[in-house]
């Protein structure tokens, strides 16, 4: 050590030591490294706080580092990124698929409708893919309101809406929506990660997009396209980017989040309208055709069923109008009918009645129980069955009276009169328009016996042969009267005595009288009722007195009379 050194040592001893140590630190790399390592974090921090220069200067080298790392050790990076990439890729694929499927749905829906064909043409003219064009045209929706809500406390950060849409207390709406979110999450999501993303309310759809600190809830009128969710997410991301921390710390003082409204209002720009002047496109043609087919089928079955039920009504009416048939019910299964009820054996056949309204027997099942009808037509038929009237006779019933008209033998009429009261439901008989068909024949018989004369020799002694003839006549007459009685007629028999003009007129009258009485006596003995014999006035002739044998006789005159009606 020389003097100078000694002097230096004396003057700058302490400083020199320091200087040495400093130079040692500067020269020795390890120490320098340790020093920088010591302050580096702090330095980076400060620099970053001060301005963005650090980021700028680091961006490139760090970027290159990463690139190199990726190139040299892809596996390590892949492993490290896997937990991030997996969900991200899945999410992206799902999103794309959802959009795609919606596009397909709409494309299919519109591909064959008239509207679709028109759009196809317009799209090709505009040089836009059809799917894209359809998307443009079909999304008729509008975001009516947007709520930005703090996820922490449910307080409304901001709220925007179209002029026209009605607004309730938006703070309450925001709180309630948050409460519902909480409720849904607590109630239906076991791991509490689930969340309410959409709700439908009539023409409105509510969509919620979740960010780390805020919830964006949009009230959308109409049907939004799935892709809108991505657009809304982008808006929420932007809001988070600018105001994330402020929203996290939001305590209800809106001044801490200035101008967020400008961002939020972007939500209201999402809308799609129908083309002006165009009406809504109709349903697709397949649906129209399907509907038409359905309508046609319905009409066909409807008309058929209507026709069958018309037939049923007709059958019912026809059967009910048929005397002696009482229908309790008619069932229809398809085209077949089942008829149940009561039928008088004398009534028309149900099958015949059905035939009259064009229902063939093979569509008919008949199940009728017999009964006795008191309907007039059936009573008349029963009377006819009972009395077997001649063809010329007409039988009808009105009320409880049996009317019989036309021509019939008297005998028949008598049976009728004596037995009509056996007929249930009839208590009177009207035969005022019934004439006897055997009257003519009978009056001929009467006429043939009438004016029969029997001659006397003298006094009341008959000429030879006439006594026998008178007896014969008496028995013929008796037969005739008998028949007359049974046929309902009465015959008046008059005996008239006659004498020649010789002698005293008074004596002649007495003789004529005796002759009539004598002849009547002969008749009476043959059983002919004496009451029917009357003495005629004497034929008083004022001519010359002649012994005219041809005047000595008795003559019988017969007169056919109707018998009075029996009671």
């Amino acid at each position: 050590m020389n003097d100078l050194d000694q002097l230096k040592e004396l003057l700058f001893g302490a400083e020199k030591q320091a200087l040495d140590s400093i130079s040692e630190r500067v020269e020795r790399r390890e120490i320098r490294t340790a020093d920088v390592a010591d302050i580096l974090p702090e330095a980076i921090h400060q620099s970053h706080q001060k301005d963005g220069e650090l980021v700028e200067s680091l961006t490139q080298p760090v970027g290159e580092c990463v690139q190199r790392g990726l190139r040299d050790e892809p596996e390590t990076y892949a492993d490290a990124l896997y937990p991030v990439m997996g969900p991200a890729i899945r999410k992206s694929i799902m999103h794309a698929l959802r959009n795609f499927s919606q596009q397909i749905n709409e494309a299919v829906e519109h591909s064959v409708s008239p509207q679709g064909l028109k759009w196809r043409w317009q799209a090709s003219r505009a040089g836009i893919p059809f799917g894209e064009y359809v998307l443009q045209k079909t999304m008729r929706y509008r975001v009516e309101q947007a709520y930005l809500i703090s996820r922490e406390n449910g307080l409304l950060v901001d709220h925007v809406h179209h002029e026209s849409s009605k607004i309730k207390d938006s703070d309450a709406v925001s709180a309630m929506f948050t409460a519902i979110q909480d409720f849904v999450k607590e109630s239906f999501s076991p791991d509490r990660t689930g969340r309410l993303e959409s709700a439908d309310m009539g023409e409105f759809t509510l969509w919620a997009v979740h960010g780390p600190h805020a919830l964006l809830v949009c009230v959308i009128r109409g049907v939004p396209p799935k892709s809108l969710r991505a657009d809304l997410s982008a808006i929420l991301e932007r809001i988070h980017f600018r105001y994330g921390d402020a929203i996290r710390d939001y305590k209800g003082d809106t001044s801490t989040i200035p101008d967020v409204e400008v961002e939020l209002e972007r939500c209201l720009r999402f809308e799609a309208r129908e083309e002006s002047g165009e009406t809504r496109s109709g349903p697709p043609i397949q649906i129209v055709i399907l509907l038409l087919l359905l309508v046609a089928a319905a009409a066909f079955f409807g008309v058929r069923s209507w026709m069958y039920s018309q037939q049923q009504d007709k059958l019912d009416a026809a059967l009910n109008a048929t005397p002696g048939i009482y229908v309790t019910n008619i069932d229809r299964s398809g085209r077949n009918f089942v008829v149940r009820g009561l039928r008088d054996p004398l009534a028309a056949d149900v099958i015949d009645v059905a035939g009259s309204v064009d229902i063939p027997a093979d569509r008919l099942t008949v199940s009728m129980r017999p009964f006795q009808s008191l309907q007039p037509e059936i009573l008349a038929a029963r009377a006819a069955q009972m009395f077997g009237p001649p063809e010329s006779v007409d039988i009808s019933v009105s009320g409880t009276t049996l009317h019989v008209s036309g021509e019939a033998p008297s005998v028949w009429r008598q049976t009728l009169q004596s037995r009509f009261s056996n007929l249930a439901g009839v208590d009177a008989l009207d035969v005022s328009r019934l004439t006897a068909s055997d009257r003519a024949e009978f009056s001929e018989r009467v006429a043939s016996l009438s004016r029969s004369r029997f001659f006397f020799r003298s006094g009341v002694e008959l000429v030879e042969g006439d006594a026998g003839r008178l007896r014969e006549f008496a028995s013929d007459l008796a037969n005739l009267l008998e028949d007359a009685r049974s046929f309902g007629y009465s015959v008046a028999v008059t005996a008239r005595g006659s004498t020649d003009s010789i002698g005293d007129a008074a004596a002649n009258a007495a003789l004529a009288d005796r002759r009539a009485t004598f002849a009547a006596g002969v008749l009476a003995s043959a059983g002919v009722d004496a009451r029917t014999i009357r003495q005629a006035d004497l034929d008083n002739t004022d001519g010359p007195q002649l012994a005219d044998v041809s005047q000595r006789y008795v003559q019988f005159d017969l007169q056919l009379e109707s018998m009075p009606d029996l009671p």
């Binding site: 703090s150 307080l155 703070d171 309630m176 909480d182 305590k251």
Partner: protein
Amino acid sequence: MTPLTSKVCVVGDFAVGKTSVVERFVTNHFSEEYLSTVGVKIDTKEIDFPTLGMTHKLVIWDVAGTEEFGAREMAYLRGASGYIYVADGTRAATLKAIERLHKQILEAYGAAPGVLLVNKRDLEPDWEVSDERFDAIATRFGNAYRTSAKTGDDVDQAITRLAELIIDNDMRGG
């Protein structure tokens, strides 16, 4: 005037009058009818503080009554700036419930402004909470009121007080 909006939660046992107190405060009505609240019911009301130059809008979450919060109720309470504790003066047990609920809130979300309403003051003859008991809990809570949703006594005062406490708390915190 600067607007401020806060979430406050009304908590307490069943049928102590939570909904009634809120209804009295918001619409100045009272109903004898008891319709138990399911889940949560939300009302809002603005209070003017002219001296502070601000309006304070309270978004009031009237939570279903319970002696002890479950997960769902806890979710409803998240982010509240203040609490309205309601007990029923005619049932001392409801005060016990308040203590339990208060503890749960403290544990889950930390300290926050709160007021205690011992309600149904109009039923004084049936009162089960002694003055000593009330005073003791009042000192612990800081802000306690004997209220009646029926007559409206002290309801406004209590809730307005909470609104003030929240503003205070905000200014100190922010």
